[in-house]
Structures are given as C-alpha cells and as structure tokens.
C-alpha cells in the first residue's frame, strides 16, 4: 500500500509480531518472526492503515469493508481473518493474547504488583500493536463508539492475565491468609496493576512524552515506584 506522506517518521508502522514477542523477555526475543508472521503483520497493518485513513477522510458510514480491502490491496474475504469488524480495523485493535512464555519468569515470592503491572502492559500491547497514538486519538474523538472496542480489549487482557495468574497463585500465602478465593485476590492484583498503568498514562515522566501517548518503560517504573511510596507511607 502507499505510504502516508503526512505521517511523521517516528510513527512508522511497527512490526506487530515482533512487538508482542519482544515483551517476552526470556523466551522468544531472539527468534526472528517467520516469513508467514511477517506477512500477516504487513497485511494487518495495511488493512488498519487503509481503514483508519479512509474513515478519517470520509467518515465511518461512507467506508465499506470492500473499500478498505481494495485500498489495502487484499481480497475482501481476507478481511475477516484479521478483524472481526470494520470498527476493529479502523481502531487497529485485536483480541489480546498471552504468549505461553510470558509467565516463565513470574516469581510468586517476588513483588506481585510490579510483576503483574509489567505482565498486564505486555498483554495490552498485543491488542493494539499499532503505535500511531495521535491517529488513534483522532479516530476515537471523531467516533466515540470506538472507545468501547478499546475497553473490551482491556477487559479481555485483564481476564486472560487473571486466569493465568490464578493458576500460579492458587497456593500462595496471600491466598492462604485471606479469607477469599484465589480468583478474587488475583482480580485485585490485576486491578492494582491497571491502576498503576493508568497513573503512568496520566503522569508521564517529565519530558518523556505528552500525556495520553504511548507508555514508556520509564513511565511505568516511575508509577510503580510512586505507588510503592504511597503504600509504604499509608500502611
């Protein structure tokens, strides 16, 4: 597909496969994506770019899936292998996933909130691999209904992570000491992690980026440090 001359260089379409794999610190980071994976990523990006640009220019109602696939240079029947709906393609959001390897380093004896926050961020990134934050904000401003797709992806990321962690923490001393099922403790842990990420979003490290843009590791580390500071002085 044609490049978008209006987009600045730093917004270059990232490689979605690579992006999610790099979140796995110890397992897949050295693996190069296969040709098939790279092609899937390219097609995903082409469809999302075409959908987003067309809708920004002509409005949601005027843009059909046929028009999107034509602009992206793929066959119409390919579309639904990549996105469940026109809206999902426009926003560039997909079902989050939790790579098998992601919990390999998880240490139940370590700082649970810190680990859960990094895990949640990794899973969330699998849902929105495309990093053109400015365009995404423009799209949700023009089409507020897209926001619910994003919220749905966040909910699903939380659910996936909670499910995986519940298994790991079933016999944890925290659960044993609390008069509540492991599911509830893990749900609280994921809620706490989501709150840390929310704070990182609202309060980026000075100079690192504008509020609301993509989170950096520095923002997350700062929010974690600050959250621990709050609780150490509260308890």
């Amino acid at each position: 597909m044609a490049a978008h001359p209006g987009r600045p260089v730093r917004d270059i379409t990232p490689n979605a496969s690579l992006h999610s794999l790099q979140e796995c610190n110890n397992c897949l980071v050295t693996e190069t994506p296969t040709l098939r994976e790279r092609r899937r990523t390219e097609t995903w990006n082409a469809l999302h770019d075409a959908a987003a640009e067309l809708v920004l220019e002509h409005g949601m109602g005027a843009v059909s899936i046929d028009r999107i696939t034509e602009a992206a240079g793929v066959s119409p029947r390919t579309f639904f292998n990549y996105f469940p709906s026109k809206q999902a393609a426009v926003l560039g959001v997909r079902d989050p996933h939790l790579p098998d390897c992601l919990l390999d380093d998880f240490d139940p004896a370590g700082d649970l909130v810190t680990q859960t926050t990094h895990l949640l961020l990794a899973v969330l990134r699998t849902a929105t691999p495309h990093e053109d934050v400015a365009r995404r904000r423009q799209l949700t401003a023009a089409h507020p209904e897209l926001q619910s797709l994003r919220m749905h992806a966040v909910e699903e990321a939380r659910r996936l992570l909670a499910e995986a962690l519940t298994e790991r923490l079933a016999d944890h001393q925290l659960v044993a000491a609390a008069d509540a099922p492991a599911e509830e403790l893990v749900s609280l842990l994921v809620t706490a992690a989501a709150a840390v990420l929310q704070h990182a979003h609202r309060h980026p490290v000075a100079g690192s980026r504008t509020a609301g843009a993509l989170l950096t590791e520095a923002d997350v580390d700062h929010a974690l440090e600050f959250t621990h500071h709050l609780w150490r002085n509260t308890l």
Copy 2:
C-alpha cells in the same frame, strides 16, 4: 408522575438531595432538605424516569426533549435547568459535586487510601443519585454511547476530589518525601481509591447483591480490607 408498576419496591426512586447529603457524615445529615430542594429532586426524578422509560420503549431517536417534558408534566424550558442533554436525562446522570462539608473529617494523619475511597464514593453518588441499577444497565446495553456520559461523570468526580485533596495534602510528609508535586501524589491516591471501588463492584460481598449492582458499604469495606492485605504482603 405515574408509578411504574413493573419496578420492584426496593427500586423506589430515592430522594436525590437527601442521598447526597447523607454522605456528609457529620455536617448535614440531620438537616431536612428544604421544600425547594425536595421539589427539585422530584422534578429531576420525573424527568429522568420519563426519559428512561420512553427511550426504553421507543428508542433514542424517537424521543424528543418535548416528549420527555410532556410525559414528566413540566414545561419544556425547565428541562435544561436539570439536564444538559437528552442523553443525560435518559441515563439519569448529572455533574458530580463535592459538598463543602465532605472533607471536614478528613485526617491527613489517618489512612489516606481508606478515606479517599469513601470520599470518592460520596462524590460519585452525587452524579448518579437514581438507584435503579437494572434500568440503567438496560439503557447502556441498548445505547452504548451513554457509557461515555458515565465515564465523564467519573472523571469529573475524580478531578473534583483531587483538587480538594491537593490543597489539604500540599504539606503532607508523603509529598515532602516524594520527588513529585502534590498533584501527582493526590492523583495516584484517587486512582488507588477508584481501583478499590472497582474491585468492590466486581467482587461484592457474598450474598449482598449481584455483581455490577449498586455498591454497599460492606462491599467497599471488604475491598479496602483486602487491598490492605495485598499491600501488607507485597511491600
């Protein structure tokens, strides 16, 4: 206005003025609302009930503000004294407010997260005084765009509370010890409180209510206790 025979007794329309005043534990709870306050509450409830019922029956597009005011038995020009839009009347949401007295009992030396959680809940309740949770859920399911009104009210409640707390905590030892402005610490505190309320919503105390329904004090206390348990075992 006519009663809704289909609604169960426990969902009886509460007195919105009273409701928000009762959140002030030590200042206004013994005051009876004035006749003017009671009448405002009645009109608010009548407009919201009419808007919600008409939209549930006929759909959002088919219901005009004139039709709502006619069904509620008030003059059309009265409408905008109560709601900024048809959607706000349908959802029964208004701008949250923070009664002056609400922070009278706030103790900077006490448990900040617990106090902030109760304060946030009190401010949130001023935005949605009407307690017909089942109907509200039916409305947002049918008209997802209403959800953004709710989110806007939550944002505004957080902003109001953060503003009031920033003043109180400007010289707090937490702020002095953190290398960050008071605004950021207070924002984190309010985010932590919101996370506690979110957990209380998702995990009501067994038997107290169904998930997603209106929070009870028991749900909030349980979520607070559990949150403290998590952090005590994490730090």
